[in-house]
C-alpha cells in the first residue's frame, strides 16, 4: 500500500497493511536545510524541500506543509515573532478594543504573502507526489483564532461579556476560515486540520462551548469542501465526542492527557482518531520509551483501523532529536502491522 491507500483505508474504519504514522515535523525541515527557522518560512520552496526530505527520513504517511499558527493573524495585520529555537508566535494583538471588532474585515488571501506561500507549498508538493501521499492543510478555527487576534485574557472577558460582538467576529473569522481552507483544498491538500483547542474542556466548560464554538463548528465544517479533522492541540475533549461527531468531522486529535481506549469507545466508528504521543516529553525519550509509547497507543486504538499514530499536539517540538523520531518509525514498523496479533 502507498501512504494514501494506507491512510484512506484507516479513515474508512478498516485495517490497512499497517497503522499509518503521521510524524508532524515542521521546523525540523529548517534544521535539515541548514536554515534559520525564519529563513526557512520565508519561501515556499524551502518548506517543499524540507517536507520531502523529512518524509524520506521518517517515512511519515503524510506531508505537513503547515507554516505556523500566527500566519493567519498576519492576514489580519498582525506581526509574527521569530526565535532561533522554536515556533514563531503571534506578536501584539490586532483587535485591541471593541471598535476594532466592529471594523474588522475579512482579509483577502491575495493580500497576505504568508498565506500565499502556504498555498504555493501545497501546490508544489502536489505536483511532486500526486495522489500517492496525503498532503495536510490546516486552519485555526474561527472560534480559537481570537486568542491570537485579541490576546487570551481579553478574549475570555469578551466571550463572557459581549455576545453580540462575538457573533460579528465569528462571522468575519468564519468567512476567512472557509476561504482559506477551500483555497488549500484547491491547491491540492487532501484534508484540512481544524485546530480548535478552545473547544477543549481543558479551557471551556462543555455547556459554554455548546452555546459558542460548537455552533460555529456546526456551521463552518459543512462549508469546507473536503474532509475536515478537528484538532484540540493536546487539550482534553472526551466528553465532547458526540458533539464532534455531529459536526461531520472525519477525525479528532487526542491529548496525551486522555486515554485513547476511552476515545475509541466514545468515537465508535463515527470518526477516526489521531494521536496521542506526548510531544513535549518526547524530547528526552530513549528508543525504549518510544517503543513502549508506540505499542501502548496502537494497543489502545489500532484494532479495526480508524487510527493514525501521531503526536498529540500536531507539531513536533524543535527540541525533539531525530533519533527519537526514527525510533518511533522503527517501533511502528515492528508493532504496527495488521493484524495486531501480538495484542492480547
Amino acid at each position: 500500500m502507498n501512504p494514501m491507500q494506507r491512510v484512506m483505508t484507516a479513515m474508512g474504519q478498516a485495517e490497512p497493511d499497517r497503522v499509518p504514522l503521521f510524524i508532524l515535523a515542521t521546523m525540523h525541515g529548517a534544521r535539515d536545510l541548514g536554515l534559520s527557522i525564519k529563513d526557512y518560512y520565508s519561501r515556499a520552496e524551502h518548506v517543499v524541500e524540507g517536507q520531502l526530505r523529512l518524509r524520506e527520513k521518517y517515512r511519515s504517511d503524510c506531508l505537513n506543509p503547515a507554516f505556523y499558527a500566527a500566519v493567519e493573524v498576519e492576514a489580519f495585520g498582525g506581526e509574527t515573532i521569530f526565535i532561533e529555537d522554536g515556533p514563531p508566535n503571534a506578536g501584539a494583538p490586532v483587535l485591541r478594543q471593541d471598535a476594532d471588532i466592529d471594523r474588522v474585515k475579512v482579509p483577502r488571501l491575495e493580500d497576505c504573502p504568508g498565506l500565499q506561500r502556504g498555498l504555493e507549498a501545497i501546490r508544489q508538493l502536489k505536483a511532486q507526489v500526486g495522489d500517492d501521499i496525503p498532503i495536510l492543510g490546516s486552519v485555526i478555527s474561527p472560534f480559537s483564532l481570537p486568542i491570537m487576534q485579541m490576546g487570551f485574557e481579553h478574549y475570555l472577558d469578551f466571550l463572557y461579556g459581549q455576545p453580540e460582538r462575538f457573533d460579528r467576529l465569528m462571522a468575519v473569522n468564519q468567512a476567512f476560515c472557509v476561504t482559506w481552507a477551500n483555497a488549500q483544498l484547491e491547491a491540492g491538500a487532501t484534508a484540512i486540520g481544524y485546530a480548535d483547542p478552545l473547544a477543549s474542556t481543558t479551557l471551556l466548560p462543555r455547556a459554554f462551548y455548546l452555546k459558542t464554538g460548537h455552533r460555529v463548528a456546526l456551521d463552518t465544517l459543512p462549508r469546507i469542501r473536503g474532509s475536515v479533522a478537528i484538532h484540540l492541540g493536546s487539550g482534553r475533549g472526551l466528553s465532547l465526542a458526540d458533539d464532534f461527531a455531529a459536526t461531520g468531522t472525519v477525525a479528532v486529535g487526542v491529548s496525551a492527557q486522555e486515554d485513547l481506549g476511552h476515545w475509541k469507545l466514545a468515537a465508535g466508528k463515527r470518526f477516526a482518531l489521531l494521536g496521542n504521543l506526548n510531544g513535549v516529553e518526547m524530547r528526552r525519550w530513549s528508543a525504549e520509551d518510544a517503543e513502549r509509547e508506540v505499542k501502548r497507543a496502537i494497543a489502545k486504538a489500532g484494532q479495526g483501523g480508524g487510527f493514525i499514530l501521531a503526536d498529540n499536539h500536531g507539531e513536533i517540538p524543535w527540541q525533539v532529536p531525530d533519533e527519537v523520531l526514527l525510533a518511533i518509525r522503527d517501533a511502528v514498523e515492528r508493532w504496527g502491522h495488521y493484524p495486531l496479533d501480538w495484542k492480547e
Binding site: 515573532i81 526565535i83 529555537d85 522554536g86 515556533p87 508566535n89 503571534a90 506578536g91 490576546g151 487570551f152 485574557e153 475570555l156 466571550l159 463572557y160 474542556t201 481543558t202 479551557l203 471551556l204 466548560p205 459554554f208 493536546s234 482534553r236 496525551a256 492527557q257 506526548n278 510531544g279 513535549v280 516529553e281 524530547r283 528526552r284 517540538p317 524543535w318 527540541q319
Partner: protein, 218 residues
Amino acid sequence: MLRGGADVDELSSDLRCALESLERSQVEKVLEAAIRIHSPLEVIEGLIMPALEAVGEDWTAGKVALSQVYMSGRICEDLVGRLLPAVAQERGSFPRCAIAVLCDYHLLGKRIVLSVLRASGFNVLDYGRMEAPALVARVLADQVDILLISVLMLPAALKVREVRAGLDALGSRTRIAVGGAPFLFDPELWREVGADAMGRSAADGEAIVRRWAGEGAP
C-alpha cells in the same frame, strides 16, 4: 483557620457554588456575611483559599475548565482588594514574591496565578514579560525571596536554566517556582531546568508560596 461549625461549612459550600456558576454578586454576599463574623485573614485562609484550591485541583483533574479558574480568580481578587484591603499588610513583607513570564508572549497563566495570590492576600511584584538576564538583575535588585515563573512555550521553559544559573552565579538564595503547559506535559522538566518547585495550577502556586513562607528565609 475559621473557627466554628455549621456556619463555616455552609459559607464554604455557598462560596464554592457561587464560584462554580461564576455568580459575582453571590460570591460578594457570601464574603460579606463571612466578614461580619470573622477577621479578614480568617476569611481568606479559611474560606477563599480553600475554595480557590478546590477549583485548581478540579482543573488539574480535568473537572473544571480554565475559563472557570480564570473567572473565579478574578472575582476573588477583586472582592478581596475591595472588602479586605488590609490583609496584605497583615501578612507583612516576608516573603518578598515576584512573578514573571519568561521569554514568552503568553500572559494569561501569570494573570491567573497573580489573581489567586492576590486573592489570598499576598503582595506580589509583577514583572510582566522578561528575558533571562534582565530577570536575574531585577530579582537581585529587589531582593526577591520567591520568584514565580510562568511560560507556555517549551523553548521558554528551557530558559529557566539560565535564570537559575544567573542567580546561582551571583550567590542568590532566591527560590524558583515554575508553571505552565510544558511543565504539565513533562512532569520531570521543572527539575531538569533547576526550579525548586512546580505548580500544576495557580492554587498550587499559592500553596508553594505559603509553604516556603512558613519555612522562613532561606
